[in-house]
């Protein structure tokens, strides 16, 4: 099976869908002639033409609005917002229009738009190229929010997103584009070729939106996480030497609570980890759900680990990033609580 990094897998998903479905179009800033700043659309305009892979003006609100209109007229637009940090000018079109068009028109109009956008830090992007705003989209009913943690999932979930008849925010942790980064920037980079999930079929396949994956089965403690933090958490659990069950949420909304609840009822302990700021973060929703549904099964408080509640600072990137030390401290604390 071919080896792909995450950019190649995402590229492959769009290539497959442009080939299979005439209604699929790709649009965004620099995605056409140039092939995208992260190269996710490289060569697609040459292959499918300027009418199907479109460079756009730098106007995120315009990109999403145009995509909505295109979708209403029978196309399946795949938009790229160059960095999720730039998505806010489109927030009204996403929240008030895209997310609720099916609802407000009682299904008379729908807008199957996919919004691909790189997220997360660890690339020295400072506070305008590092954010993880999944919670502010998860809070909006009518949107689906997906964040893959590896090339295999990225391709299968992106194809599913493009085929989905509801709008999907597809968040791509950009620190994972080239390898399964485990939170140790001083260590040599590990490529996806060394990882099982770097094996990606060439052709069409899809993975279900709305299902968590169990990234690692374990018995002592459940780590609920997604994106880059799947790999950081795995590294931390290994370092601490505990048999953690790691749940890769993959779809943030709608959330597969059943898998999470079953795991926590089994282990009795849970740490929720995300890169985003903690206060009002999606970890709060996960923790609250576990508290409600697993209360008498818990041996210790549910602990959340996240980025500090500050903007993402350029000079203190690794002090900000919830790396293995911060995760390991949480794991030890939760394990140390007497039953």
């Amino acid at each position: 099976m071919p080896q792909m990094n995450m950019v190649q897998a995402i590229h492959s998903a769009m290539d497959v869908m442009l080939e299979r479905d005439r209604s699929v179009v790709v649009l965004g800033e620099d995605v056409g002639y140039f092939g995208g700043v992260f190269r996710a659309t490289e060569g697609l305009q040459r292959k499918y033409g300027e009418h199907r892979v479109l460079d756009t003006p730098i106007a995120e609100g315009g990109i999403i609005a145009a995509a909505i209109g295109m979708a209403v007229n029978g196309l399946r637009p795949v938009t790229e917002i160059q960095f999720v940090d730039y998505i806010y000018p489109a927030y009204d079109q996403i929240v008030s229009e895209l997310a609720r068009l099916r609802y407000r028109s009682a299904g008379d109009f729908t807008a199957p738009v996919t919004i691909r956008t790189p997220c997360g830090g660890g690339i020295r992007g400072g506070q305008t190229h590092s954010q993880s705003p999944e919670a502010i989209f998860a809070h909006v009913c009518g949107l689906k929010v997906v964040m893959p943690s590896n090339p295999y999932d990225a391709k299968g979930l992106l194809i599913a997103a493009i085929e989905d008849n509801d709008p999907v925010i597809f968040l791509e942790p950009k620190r994972l584009y080239n390898g399964p980064f485990d939170g140790q920037p001083d260590q040599p980079a590990v490529p996806w070729t060394a990882h099982a999930k770097g094996e990606v079929p060439e052709g069409y396949y899809r993975l279900p939106i709305g299902e968590c994956a169990i990234a690692r089965a374990g018995s002592e403690l459940t780590i609920v996480t997604y994106g880059t933090m799947v790999h950081v958490a795995a590294g931390a659990a290994q370092a601490v030497g505990i048999d953690a069950e790691i749940i890769d949420v993959r779809t943030i909304s709608p959330l597969d609570t059943a898998t999470i609840i079953a795991s926590v009822k089994k282990t009795g302990r849970c740490v929720v980890v995300h890169e985003a700021t903690r206060f009002g973060g999606f970890g709060g929703e996960i923790a609250a759900t576990i508290q409600e549904e697993c209360f008498w099964h818990l041996e210790a408080p549910i602990v959340r680990v996240g980025g500090w509640d500050t903007p993402y600072p350029h000079a203190f990137e690794w002090e900000y990033f919830p790396g293995q030390t911060r995760v390991a401290n949480a794991l030890k604390r939760v394990m140390g609580e007497a039953a």
Binding site: P57, N73, R104, G107, D108
Partner: protein
């Protein structure tokens, strides 16, 4: 002597208690603005793009004759259809306003005085063209043949409501009639219409899109996105700004920065801008035809400013006497669109008072009959009610587990059942596992 810089605070020409003053309006005499070739490049237009966007395209003159190069030469039968649609729109508005005052519907928005901007434009477009209306374009719904009962059911949020009770009154939609779903958020439909038009061009179809916003909402970024994308890709669409002088209490000078023209925003984006007498049925029709022809021939979008006056309040929740002179509407220099078309038809010998009275009675009866029928689907106070469980549908294409669960909880709540409503790992559940 120099002074420190000071803000310029725009003020309308008159506030309550002052004499209405429309001297700020630049008016051209009917028939005086030349009509360029719709295929002409922007730079090569005669008159110039700047003149087109600052003069006022008018066809009907003070003697009720159709004059000049923009005269669309419509048959009297078509004019009569236009009059019928405008009169129906007005009678519908009046009746629905009354039902709101009686507490039968929660909210309403009239378009009194602005009927032509919707009716004439919709008649000038083809049935397969897609319309992206604002909330004061009920004339589009009339021309596209939306049944009055369907519109009233929407206003009533009753069991026949096309929106299943989810939208404020007047936020209609109709995919079969090619009328996009109306949003309560301003101007969002403008760039969406451009996207729709882009898709038509990508698919190689000759359908065009048209959209309407108020002059106040042209301040939104969506307006600028629409013009930019329309210009960049030469998207086949017609972008209408209905300048009815008032955005609730804010006069049009705020959105325009006191520039005398909204149409003049067009040339800055590389788009022709037509400034048009919005109360002149023939001028609106002719301008829309010109823009539609230009779009269909691949020359891209046109911005049309329709100069009109919001005779009605902003909505049933608004009292304009608090911010503009009570008699301002009477002083509006461009008259009433219905009256002007009626007078034109009379001048042609194709209409008279008796026919007008008969049409009024016929349409009033139509509206009354529709209202009776709509009420059988339920009103706010009586008759059948929508099932509240409908609120969970159409959030997504298929019902996700958490919404299925919440629907059950609501049903238990409505049934007065306290058992099993609250989900959780309560003590009696201990040991039962997942």
């Amino acid at each position: 002597m120099s002074r420190p810089s000071r803000l310029h605070i725009p003020h309308p020409s008159a506030r309550p208690g002052e004499a209405p003053d429309f001297s700020y309006l630049r008016l051209s005499a009917a028939g005086t603005v030349a009509r360029p070739d719709p295929s002409a490049r922007l730079e090569a237009m005669t008159p110039s793009a700047m003149e087109l966007s600052t003069e006022l395209v008018r066809v009907l003159d003070d003697e009720h004759r159709a004059v000049g190069p923009w005269n669309p030469h419509l048959e009297p039968a078509e004019l009569q259809v236009g009059l019928r649609h405008m009169l129906l729109t007005r009678l519908f508005d009046e009746r629905m306003q009354k039902t709101q005052r009686q507490g039968r519907i929660s909210f309403y928005v009239k378009c009194t005085g602005e009927e032509a901007v919707s009716v004439a434009a919709a008649m000038a477009l083809e049935p397969h063209d897609m319309l992206f209306p604002g909330y004061r374009n009920q004339g589009l719904q009339m021309v596209r043949g939306q049944p009055l009962v369907a519109l009233m059911n929407q206003l009533l949020s009753n069991t026949g409501d096309m929106c299943k009770g989810r939208q404020l009154p007047v936020m209609y939609h109709g995919s079969d009639a090619r009328l996009f779903s109306i949003s309560g958020n301003l101007a969002t439909q403008f760039p969406q219409a451009v996207g729709w038009a882009m898709a038509a061009a990508i698919k190689g179809e000759d359908h065009i899109a048209a959209s309407w916003i108020g002059e106040g909402s042209s301040a939104e970024a969506d307006f600028h996105h629409a013009l930019l994308f329309a210009s960049t890709y030469r998207a086949p669409c017609v972008l209408n700004v209905v300048n009815n002088q008032w955005a609730i209490s804010t006069f049009q000078g705020f959105a325009a920065g006191e520039s005398p023209s909204f149409a003049a925003r067009g040339p800055g984006y590389g788009l022709p801008g037509l400034r048009v007498d919005g109360n002149d049925f023939l001028a609106v029709y002719a301008a829309t035809r010109w823009a539609a022809e230009r779009a269909r021939k691949g020359h891209g979008a046109t911005l049309i400013e329709l100069v009109t006056y919001r005779v009605a309040a902003h909505s049933t929740s608004d009292d304009p006497a608090r911010y503009r002179p009570r008699d301002e509407a009477e002083q509006w220099p461009l008259g009433c669109p219905l009256e002007r078309l009626r007078q034109h038809l009379c001048a042609l010998g194709e209409w008279d008072d008796a026919r007008h009275a008969a049409l009024t009675v016929e349409l009033e009866q139509q509206v009354n009959a529709a209202w009776k029928t709509a009420c059988t689907f339920g009103t706010m106070t009586e008759g059948p009610k929508l099932d509240p469980a409908l609120m969970f549908e159409d959030v997504y294409e298929t019902l996700p587990p958490h919404l299925a669960r919440q629907r059950e909880m609501l049903q238990a709540e409505l049934a007065g059942s306290s058992a099993a409503v609250v989900s959780g790992d309560f003590k009696q559940n201990t040991g039962t596992g997942a």
